[in-house]
């Protein structure tokens, strides 16, 4: 994996952003930006070249699924790998995210090893 990638971590809970960043640091990543909502994340993407998005699903305002659809619907951002971190492991939710073009998803609760495995799958060759 290319550990220089710039990763956008999106979650309305600062706690979960911190836990995700800790897991990413353990893997060796160090280039992060953050947002606390889908809308704030879109702003971040306007101002930064982002290589990977790791986003929560269940957020007030624009949730992770709506954010994913915005990303996939924009020519400039549609190719960015998008990993959904979610407690929504019910079949209908997973199918909805797959249809919307999610690259991979991490089900909460997760360990650092779970994050590493999912990113290896997502970033094969990156």
């Amino acid at each position: 994996m290319n550990l220089e990638l710039k990763i956008l971590v999106v979650d309305d809970f600062s706690t979960m952003r911190r836990i995700v960043k800790n897991a990413l640091k353990q893997i060796g990543f160090s280039n992060f930006i953050e947002a606390d909502s889908g809308l704030a994340a879109l702003e971040q993407i306007k101002n930064n070249k982002v290589d990977l998005i790791i986003s929560d699903w269940n957020m007030p305002g624009m949730d992770g699924l709506a954010f994913l659809k915005e990303i996939r619907g924009n020519e400039a951002t549609k190719g960015i790998p998008f990993v959904m971190v979610t407690a929504e492991a019910q079949k209908i939710n997973v199918l909805e995210a797959v249809r919307a073009g999610v690259s991979n998803y991490i089900i909460k609760p997760f360990s650092g090893d779970d994050v590493k495995r999912k990113l290896e799958e997502t970033l094969k060759g990156a």
Binding site: F13, S14, T15, E88, Q90, P109
Partner: protein, 153 residues
Amino acid sequence: MDVSYVNPFIDATLCVLKTMASTEAEVGKPYIKKDTTAMGDVTSLIGLSGQINGSVSVSFTTESILCVVSRMFGEEMTELNDEVKDAVGEIANMISGQARQKIETMGHSLKAAIPSVIVGTKHSIAHASSYPVVAIPFSTVDGNFTIEVCFLE
């Protein structure tokens, strides 16, 4: 309330604490809780709706949540600040998510609301209905916590 809905929450609680905080918890004996006073200093409550309606809460003593969050963050937390309160909400969110996944296999689809967090000694927990609340105490080497499950069918 059908008590078969309680086991998914017990299993999910054990899994969340073990996976996210490397904390092994022991399950105590469930009981019907007759008052609304929380069994801890900080509680997160989530409303659940769908084919059945209800709510689930998790209440930690200050001692236990500081240890749990310290393990989640990989650094020592010494006060019940906003980050720790956020973490209680996330723990409740994960317990709810994993339990709902199991309840789905029982044929009931549920949606969860955004968790609320309440702090204070002897605070009150407002569950989704006046129906019986099943409380399940847990103990860990770091202290105790309790989950409460309330379903209206």
